[in-house]
C-alpha cells in the first residue's frame, strides 16, 4: 500500500473538493486522456463540465467570483487531475494561476474575469520573450504611453485564448494588462504544438502599437514586480503539483504492467532492476508531495515561499522526468507504443523542466540564496 503524504489530515473543505476531483479524474478524465493527447484538444463539453464544477477558479475567494477553496486544495486537485491527464491539469493551471489568480488579486472586477472563470472564454499569459527569464529581465515589450509594442513567445495556450495577460515595460517598471487578443495590432504570428501537453499551443504574439486603456490594467502602473513574483511562485508550485501527478501516474501504470508481464517464467516485477525503476516514481512523488504541501500551506498562511517553491519545482520536475523514463523502460517495447500510456507521461515530463524559465535559471537563483549578500 502506498502511504499518504497528507499529514496533518485534510480539512473538511479540502477533503470535499478532493473527493470531487478524484472522482472526476478517475471516472471521466482517465478514459479521455489518450484521445485528448492524440487530438491535441480538450473537448468543449469537458471544458464546460470543468467550468461548471468550479475547477477553473478553485483557490479564488467566493467574493471574487471563485470557488473559495484554499491554495492547498487547488494544488492537490491539480496533482490528481495531472495523474489522469497532464495536459488538462496544465490547462487548468494556465487558466487559474496564470490568468484568474492575478486578476482576482490585483484587478478585482476586471472585465475578463467572469468570462474566463465561467468557462465562456480562455485566458493566457503572454510574458516571456525570446531572451527573457522569468525575473522580468529581458522584457523588451513596451507599454509606454499606453501603446503596446513587442513580441512574446512560447505563450501557453495562446492560440485558443480570447483574453491575454501581458507584462510590459512602462517607464522604469513593469506593468500588466489584460485585453482581448483580437484587439487591433495584436497578431498571432506563430503557433505550434509541443512534444507534450498537446492540448496547449506554444504561440508567438506580436503587438504593433496596440492601444491600451486604464481599464485593461492589472495592478498599478509600474507595479509589475509584485505580480511577477506572485505569478512565479504560484506557477512553480502548480508545476510541482503537475509533476507529482505525472510521476505518480507513470509509477502506478508501470507497477501494474510489471505485475502482469511475465518473462523468464516470472512476473518482471520480481526483478530487482525493475523494482529500482519503479521506486524512482515513489521517490519523485514522495519528495514532490512533501514539498508541494509545505509550499501550499505557506501560501495559504501568507508566508513567502519563493525559495522553497524553486526547490520544489526543480525536485519535482527532474524527479518526474526520471520516473517517467523509468516507467517507459519497464514496459519494454510496449513503452514505445502509443497504445500504452507510458510514452505520453514521458513526453509531458520532458517538457516540465522548460516551463517558467527552466530549471537552470531556478538553480542559479537558488545558489544566490546561500551566498553572502
Amino acid at each position: 500500500m502506498k502511504s499518504t503524504y497528507f499529514y496533518p489530515a485534510p480539512s473538511e473543505d479540502q477533503q470535499m473538493i478532493l473527493d470531487l476531483v478524484v472522482g472526476f479524474a478517475k471516472d471521466e478524465l482517465t478514459s479521455l486522456a489518450e484521445a485528448i493527447d492524440h487530438q491535441g484538444e480538450i473537448p468543449q463539453a469537458l471544458q464546460e463540465q470543468m467550468a461548471e464544477m468550479g475547477l477553473l477558479a478553485i483557490p479564488i475567494s467566493e467574493d471574487n467570483g471563485g470557488a473559495g477553496f484554499d491554495f492547498t486544495s487547488y494544488v492537490l486537485s491539480l496533482a490528481e487531475i495531472a495523474k489522469a491527464s497532464g495536459t488538462v491539469a496544465m490547462h487548468l493551471a494556465n487558466q487559474t494561476t496564470f490568468f484568474l489568480e492575478p486578476l482576482a488579486q490585483f484587478a478585482t472586477g476586471h472585465r475578463a474575469f467572469d468570462e474566463v472563470a465561467s468557462g465562456g472564454a480562455l485566458g493566457a499569459l503572454a510574458l516571456l520573450e525570446d531572451a527573457g527569464s522569468f525575473s522580468g529581465e529581458g522584457i523588451q515589450t513596451s507599454a509606454d504611453g499606453l501603446k503596446l509594442s513587442g513580441q512574446k513567445s512560447g505563450v501557453l495556450g495562446g492560440e485558443d485564448a480570447k483574453w491575454i495577460l501581458v507584462g510590459a515595460k512602462e517607464g522604469d517598471g513593469i506593468s500588466f494588462f489584460a485585453f482581448e487578443k483580437d484587439r487591433a495590432g495584436t497578431y498571432l504570428s506563430e503557433t505550434s504544438k509541443r512534444l507534450g501537453f498537446r492540448s496547449l499551443s506554444s504561440s508567438t504574439l506580436t503587438f504593433e502599437n496596440v492601444t491600451l486603456s486604464d481599464e485593461d490594467r492589472v495592478g498599478q502602473a509600474g507595479d509589475g514586480a509584485a505580480i511577477l513574483a506572485f505569478l512565479h511562485t504560484r506557477g512553480l508550485v502548480a508545476l510541482t503539483a503537475i509533476a507529482a501527478g505525472i510521476a505518480d501516474a507513470a509509477g502506478e501504470a508501470a507497477a501494474q504492467y510489471a505485475t502482469e508481464r511475465k518473462q523468464f517464467r516470472r512476473a518482471i516485477s520480481e526483478f530487482e532492476a525493475i523494482k529500482q525503476r519503479l521506486a524512482s516514481s515513489v521517490l519523485a512523488h514522495g519528495a514532490s508531495m512533501s514539498l508541494l504541501l509545505s509550499c501550499s500551506r505557506m501560501i495559504d498562511d501568507g508566508i513567502p515561499c519563493d525559495q522553497l517553491a524553486r526547490v520544489a519545482k526543480v525536485t519535482a520536475t527532474s524527479g518526474a522526468l526520471e520516473a517517467t523514463d523509468d516507467a517507459l523502460q519497464v514496459y519494454g517495447g510496449y513503452g514505445f507504443s502509443q497504445e500504452y500510456p507510458a510514452e505520453r507521461f514521458y513526453r509531458d515530463a520532458c517538457c516540465l523542466g522548460v516551463f517558467l524559465g527552466g530549471n537552470d535559471d531556478s538553480i542559479q537563483e537558488l545558489a544566490m540564496t546561500i551566498l553572502p549578500q
Binding site: L128, D130, A131, S133, E137, G138, S153, G154, S192, K193, R194, L195, G196, S202, K262, Q263, F264, R265, F271, A273, I274, L321, D325, L328, Q329, G332, G333, G335, F336, S337, Q338, E339, E343, Y346, R347, C350, C351, G353, V354, G358, N359, D360, D361, Q364
Partner: protein, 387 residues
C-alpha cells in the same frame, strides 16, 4: 591502436554525409509526421551500396564491413532515424545470416536482391510472450516431406510488411523436454513464395514513425528444407550472433541521433541569448555542450571498437553490449538536455529537437533492452573471472 579512419573510409564517410544531408534529412520531418515509409531513400541507399555493406562484392555488395557500415550509417541516422533502422536491420539482421549461414544456392538466389535493396529484409524473433526471454518463443517449424511448415505469431517486426525476406526463428524440437535455446532453428522465409504470411496494423509509435513495425502472423508457412540456416537447433546462437552485430548498429543509431541533436544546439547557441548575454558565454551552456561532445565521442569509440572486433572475428559480445548500453543511454540524455537548453523552442514540434528526442528513446528498448545489455555484460564479466 589506430584512431584514424583509412582514406577509403574517410571518403565513404564524406560521401555518406553529403547524401544524408542533401537527400535524407530534408524529408525527415514529413516522414515522421505522416508516417511515410522511406521507399525512395532505400533505393538511394541501395544504389550507394549501403544495403549490402556486409555482402561480398561477387553478389553486388559493397563489403565495407562492420566498421565501414558504422561510419556510413551514423550519417544516415543523424539525418533520419526511421531510414536508419530500416537499413540497419536489413544489413545486420538479414544480409548477415544469408552470407554466414545460407546455402550457396540460397545465396545465389537472394544475395544480389538483398545487396541492391530490391528485396527488403526483416528479422522475426520477438513474440507477444517472448521479448527479453527470446528463447521462450512458441512459433513452431514442423518437418513435412522436404519442407518445414511454420506456425506462430511474431511481434514488433521492423519492416515486416515491406519485406520480401524474413529470418524466422522457430522451435523445431516440439518435445517439451528439449527446452529453450536448443530447440530453436533459423529459417529464411520468402514472404512471396511461401504464402501464409499476413501482417498486423502498423504500430503507432513514439518515434521512428517512418519505419514500419508490425505483428507478423505465420500460418502454415511452407519453406523448403534448404531454407534452414546453419544447423538445426543452432538457431538461438545465430539469433544472438546477429544481435551482436545489430547492437553495434543500434549504438550507431543512438550516436547519430544524439549527434544531430547536439549539432542542432551547437549551431543555435551562437545566435541565442540567455539572461541578457550570448549563450556561448554562459557556463551552463558551455559545460553542457562539453559534456555532450565528450559522451558522444566516448560512445563512438566503444561502437567502433566493437565493429573492428567483429570484422576481425574476435570476441565482441561484451563490447557490442557495452557500446549499445552506453550509446543509447547517453544519446537519450543528450536529446533531453538539448530540449531543455533550447527552452520552449526545444520542445516545440516545429523544431527538430523534439523529434530526435522521440526517435532516440527506442534505442534503449530494441535489440535487447538496457537491462538485457547489463545482464549480458555482467555474465561476461563473471565468465572472464572464471577463465
Amino acid at each position: 591502436m589506430d584512431f584514424q579512419l583509412s582514406e577509403e573510409l574517410l571518403q565513404l564517410q564524406a560521401e555518406a554525409k553529403q547524401v544524408a544531408e542533401e537527400l535524407i534529412a530534408p524529408g525527415a520531418r514529413d516522414r515522421d509526421e505522416n508516417k511515410v515509409f522511406p521507399h525512395d531513400l532505400l533505393k538511394i541507399c541501395g544504389d550507394k551500396g549501403w544495403m549490402g555493406c556486409l555482402v561480398p562484392k561477387e553478389f553486388g555488395g559493397s563489403d565495407i564491413g562492420n566498421l565501414g557500415q558504422a561510419v556510413v550509417l551514423e550519417e544516415v541516422a543523424a539525418a533520419c532515424a526511421s531510414t536508419h533502422v530500416t537499413v540497419s536491420v536489413h544489413n545486420s539482421l538479414m544480409s548477415t545470416p544469408m552470407k554466414k549461414y545460407a546455402s550457396a544456392e540460397l545465396q545465389a538466389k537472394y544475395l544480389p536482391q538483398v545487396a541492391s535493396g530490391a528485396w527488403l529484409g526483416a528479422y522475426l524473433l520477438t513474440e507477444p510472450g517472448a521479448g527479453s526471454d527470446a528463447a521462450s518463443l512458441k512459433t513452431t517449424a514442423v518437418e513435412d516431406g522436404d519442407s518445414f511448415v511454420i506456425n506462430g505469431d511474431k511481434m514488433w517486426i521492423t519492416t515486416g510488411d515491406e519485406a520480401r525476406l524474413g529470418i524466422v526463428f522457430a522451435r523445431t524440437e516440439l518435445d517439451e523436454s528439449i527446452r529453450g535455446p536448443k530447440a530453436i532453428s533459423a529459417f529464411v522465409v520468402d514472404f512471396e513464395e511461401s504464402g501464409g504470411v499476413t501482417f498486423g496494423k502498423r504500430e503507432p509509435k513514439l518515434g521512428i514513425r517512418g519505419s514500419s513495425t508490425v505483428a507478423v502472423f505465420l500460418k502454415d508457412v511452407r519453406v523448403p528444407k534448404g531454407n534452414l540456416l546453419g544447423e538445426r537447433g543452432r538457431g538461438f546462437n545465430i539469433a544472438m550472433d546477429l544481435l551482436n552485430g545489430g547492437r553495434i548498429g543500434i549504438a550507431i543509431q543512438a550516436i547519430g541521433i544524439g549527434r544531430a541533436s547536439f549539432e542542432h544546439a551547437l549551431g543555435l547557441v551562437g545566435s541565442l541569448e540567455r539572461a541578457g548575454k550570448p549563450m556561448t558565454k554562459s557556463q551552463i551552456v558551455q559545460f553542457r555542450l562539453a559534456d555532450m561532445a565528450t559522451r558522444l565521442d566516448a560512445a563512438r569509440l566503444l561502437a567502433l571498437r566493437a565493429a573492428v572486433l567483429r570484422d576481425n572475428n574476435e570476441p565482441h559480445i561484451k563490447e557490442a553490449s557495452m557500446a549499445k548500453l552506453y550509446a543509447s543511454t547517453i544519446a537519450n540524455q543528450v536529446c533531453r538536455e538539448v530540449c531543455e537548453l533550447l527552452g520552449d523552442a526545444g520542445i516545440r514540434d516545429d523544431g527538430i529537437a523534439e523529434r530526435l528526442l522521440r526517435d532516440c528513446r527506442v534505442s534503449e528498448l530494441y535489440e535487447g533492452t538496457t537491462e538485457v545489455q547489463k545482464l549480458v555484460i555482467a555474465k561476461q564479466l563473471f565468465a572472464d573471472c572464471e577463465a
